[in-house]
């Protein structure tokens, strides 16, 4: 049975009437047309679908949309303030940390969540915090450089 889910996405209220079992990822992409979060594995093990729910990083591919009811969601589309990019986005550009770019939205939001919890992580803490995010281009060295840069900018 369909239910109505109300949520705030990137600062805007939304109501979606749908099967509560659908993954949050599908609802964001197919119903709300926010395609920044990507499908990568469907098991929460690659981070491509990462979004922030009430400030916490969640894997939207394994989060039933029912769990997002009355929650606040931030996707990559809502991270910049108008034309002004978020410092983590700026850091990724400055360090040339994007190859194909498919993992990038999930990477950036994971970094945002990581730095919210720990403003100045050590390298070991960065690696631990990022390890679930996959980049098959294996552009990890420049992503690590971008994270260090974003850390220093804070």
């Amino acid at each position: 049975m369909d239910v109505t889910i109300t949520l705030t996405v990137n600062g805007k209220k939304a109501a979606v009437t749908t099967d509560p079992q659908r993954p949050l990822l599908d609802v964001l992409r197919e119903d709300l047309h926010l395609t920044g979060a990507k499908y990568g594995c469907g098991e929460g093990l690659c981070g491509s679908c990462a979004v922030l729910m009430d400030g916490q990083r969640v894997m939207s591919c394994i989060t039933p949309v029912s769990q997002a009811d009355k929650k606040t969601i931030l996707t990559i589309e809502g991270l910049a303030s108008g034309d002004k990019l978020h410092p983590v986005q700026e850091a990724f550009l400055a360090e040339d940390a994007v190859q194909c770019g498919y993992c990038t939205p999930g990477m950036i939001l994971t970094v945002v969540a990581l730095l919210e919890k720990n403003a100045h992580p050590t390298d070991a803490e960065i690696v631990e915090g990022m390890n679930v995010n996959l980049c098959r281009c294996c552009g990890y060295p420049k992503i690590l450089a971008a994270i260090r840069r974003a850390t220093q900018a804070r």
């Binding site: 395609t35 920044g36 990568g40 098991e43 990724f92 994007v98 498919y102 939205p105 996959l134 098959r136």
Partner: protein, 718 residues
């Protein structure tokens, strides 16, 4: 062997990208044809239906002389558009081609917009594969841009009635210093003269800017559309949305080779807003959400009866490949040299099947409009996908358009056209656009695999420890980089086919990885047999200055001579080098070994890479990073496991690709050779890492591991 008439280059079989057929063929009824095309087009169909699938060619590219207008367009507002059939999958093609055009047009790179991989708009530049964009397409784009600049200058000089040598061009402005007259490209684009001039063919002898005068090429220009990638604005193929679009799912067999015997579509057909199609072995569903399509697919799947086919397991795959291999033959001279050698080593190496596992599984959106279909999909060969779609749907080629939006990384695995064809077939049945996005499990099971290899080497040393005979057989995986780059008086290398149980395709560097693994491990074994240092043994057999340079530079940066003395049971060093597709690589690694747990940790990698004149140092560095770390996956862990035709590890939780925790300390040196033509850099840097690790394992433990993935048995019984 074929000859590419445009470059007079010999295309060896190994640079032909292997592609296998789809496992279904549509059986469209004549009625469906008529509905698709409208009665007026049927005559065209009769003549044009047999669209042959263009395959292979390794990016051999366009063969006809081309007009400047087919490549370069200058709008009345001065906006410059440059067109290429090559595509961007994260390897940096868009950036390099933008640089190539901007360099020769004498404009800032942000003035150039590349249109890539659109079969209605772009010339066919062949598949994006085999490190071909740098050596073959960059020169084509440079020639077109230089020809365009020459024509712009000619039109300006004609207007001013001055000699061409009296004017200067900078930032899209042509200036006559004597008269202080200036005219912009935009001004000229507003005249009919330029449009007429651009209809001329691009001269084959157009002069290109010498390397020492480069202002844009050779710099680290970042990717032009990078901002859209960090804001989520870029639409990958799986992000494309069309009005009224449905989401499609396709029924896959439960195991390899299984044939569909019967199926009941009734339950799925009764579902609201669901479209169900059966066309021979093809069964698919489309619904307004992908969740809905999945529910419908589950309903049909539970009614399907299949006839399974026998299939070897991954445990027996090497014996199977060997058993089904063609005969490699012999060479009397090499056999004789082996017979006379003082010491002969005969070893067999195995390389497992691995998968590209790209972050973006294959995806396509198809939309019919007035009898023409447009497909957005992630493909290395938009023109091949165009042909395949036309052939499968029996359409004349002008009724198909393929657009390749910059897609997720491909690594050689995007030669297949299924997603495009599946979306097209479902869209045809639904009468609405359909998006097909494969799941990770589908990607891991039904996409394609880097071929497994059985490699047999016999090598002989003379009494002084010099390598005098070499007989090398690669079964199944391919001929890329199969020739030994070492100076050996009697050598023979052959690739022979087998009967591969999995669908094989190119994978970053093709078989060069497997061949370099076996060869460089064997070189290490031979060095040990000769009582020589692995570095000194290699250098003694290298005539090629470029290979010598990368190896010597890597060894020096790594301080090989000092480090190798410090080996211990839990630390080892190893090195390897190689060459492929006109570029050269050497790697030295330090590993940590935990014998008890059988763990190998790559601690440090020093790699030197040389590919001629560097077009974009930052992009090249990214490619080298990617190659080394991606290469560590199949070197240490990745292996497709299968049994009874089913994949046993078709998930990231079971198939372990490199992650942040695996990143070693890296010292990478890009050896620039502005005096040499530029070769591609996205593949060869992957070929040295695995043998260097295996050789480090021997250095530390004395154990030769002759297989990829390189695994050590645990000693604690775990």
């Amino acid at each position: 062997m074929t000859t590419d008439p445009r470059t007079d280059r010999i295309c060896k079989p190994e640079c032909v990208e292997p592609v296998e057929e789809m496992h279904y063929q549509f059986d469209l009824s004549r009625r469906a044809f008529m509905q698709l095309l409208g009665a007026g087009l049927v005559i065209t169909v009769t003549g044009g239906v047999a669209v042959a699938q263009r395959r292979g060619g390794g990016g051999s590219g366009t063969r006809r002389p081309q007009t400047v207008s087919a490549r370069v367009h200058i709008a009345k507002d001065g906006a410059i558009t440059v067109m290429t059939g090559k595509v961007e999958m994260g390897q940096g093609g868009r950036t390099e081609l933008t640089q190539a055009a901007a360099e020769e047009l004498r404009v800032l790179p942000n003035r150039v917009q590349m249109v890539m991989g659109d079969t209605d708009l772009c010339p066919d530049d062949g598949v994006t594969a085999g490190s071909g964009t740098t050596p073959r397409t960059v020169p084509v784009i440079r020639a077109a841009a230089a020809a365009a600049r020459n024509l712009l200058v000619a039109v300006a000089c004609e207007r001013w009635k001055v000699d061409r040598n009296t004017v200067e061009v900078r930032d899209g402005v042509i200036a006559n210093p004597a008269t202080k007259q200036t005219i912009t490209y935009a001004d000229l684009a507003r005249t009919d003269d330029l449009a007429k001039a651009f209809e001329q063919a691009i001269p084959s002898d157009v002069a290109l800017t010498p390397v020492k005068e480069w202002k844009v090429l050779g710099t680290s220009l970042p990717r032009p559309n990078r901002r859209d990638l960090v804001t989520g604005a870029h639409r990958f193929p799986s992000d494309i949305e069309r009005p009224n679009m449905l989401f499609g799912k396709v029924l896959r067999p439960p195991s390899y080779g299984a044939k569909l015997v019967s199926i009941d579509l009734a339950e799925a057909k009764a579902m609201k807003d669901v479209v169900v199609v059966q066309d021979g072995q093809f069964v698919g569903c489309a619904a307004p959400t992908s969740f809905g399509a999945e529910q419908a697919l589950k309903a049909v799947a539970k009614t399907a009866k299949w006839e399974p086919a026998p299939h070897p397991s991954s445990k027996e795959v090497f014996a199977y490949l060997k058993e089904h291999a063609q005969s490699p033959g012999k060479d009397e001279r090499v056999e004789e040299a082996l017979a006379k050698a003082s010491k002969v080593l005969r070893e067999t190496y195995h390389v497992a099947y691995v998968q590209h596992a790209p972050m973006e599984p294959r995806a396509a959106v198809a939309e019919w409009n007035e009898g023409k279909i447009t497909v957005w999909t992630g493909t290395q060969g938009p023109f091949n996908t165009h042909s395949a779609t036309a052939a499968q749907l029996r359409l004349p080629s002008d009724r198909v358009r393929v657009i390749m939006p910059d897609c997720g990384g491909g690594f050689g695995g995007r030669h297949f056209d299924e997603a495009a064809v599946e979306a097209a077939r479902l869209a045809q049945a639904a009468g609405r656009p359909v998006s097909v996005r494969w799941t990770r499990e589908e990607e891991f099971t039904w996409a394609s695999f880097r071929p497994a290899a059985v490699i047999e080497i016999a090598a002989g040393l003379d009494a002084k420890g010099a390598l005098v005979a070499w007989h090398y057989i690669n079964i199944n995986s391919g001929g890329a980089a199969i020739e030994s780059p070492y100076n050996i008086p009697n050598k023979r290398s052959r690739f022979v086919n087998s009967n591969p149980p999995l669908r094989q395709s190119s994978y970053r560097a093709l078989a060069a990885t497997a061949n370099n693994f076996a060869r460089e491990c064997m070189m290490d074994e031979l060095a040990a047999a000769a009582g020589a240092d692995p570095l000194a043994f290699r250098l003694a057999h290298i005539d090629n200055d470029r290979l010598r340079a990368v190896l010597e530079t890597a060894a020096k940066r790594f301080t090989w001579d000092e480090r190798k003395k410090k080996k211990s049971p839990d630390t080892g060093v190893g090195l390897a080098c190689g060459t492929e597709k006109g570029s050269y690589v050497a790697a030295c690694v330090e590993i940590g070994v935990d014998r008890e747990r059988g763990r190998i940790d790559v601690r440090r990698v020093c790699q030197v890479f040389e590919c001629g004149a560097i077009l974009n140092p930052a992009n090249l560095l990214s490619q080298v990073h990617g190659c080394i770390i991606m290469g560590m996956g199949p070197a240490l862990r990745e292996e497709m496991e299968f049994e009874n035709g089913k994949m046993l590890n078709a998930a990231f939780g079971k198939y372990l690709v490199p992650r942040f925790k695996d990143v070693p300390e890296l010292d990478i040196h890009l050896l620039n050779r502005p005096d040499l033509p530029s070769a591609g850099g996205g593949e060869t840097p992957i070929i040295a890492i695995a043998p260097a690790i295996a050789n480090a394992v021997f250095n530390s433990t004395g154990i030769r591991v002759r297989s990829m993935p390189i695994r050590l048995a645990t000693t604690n019984g775990a």
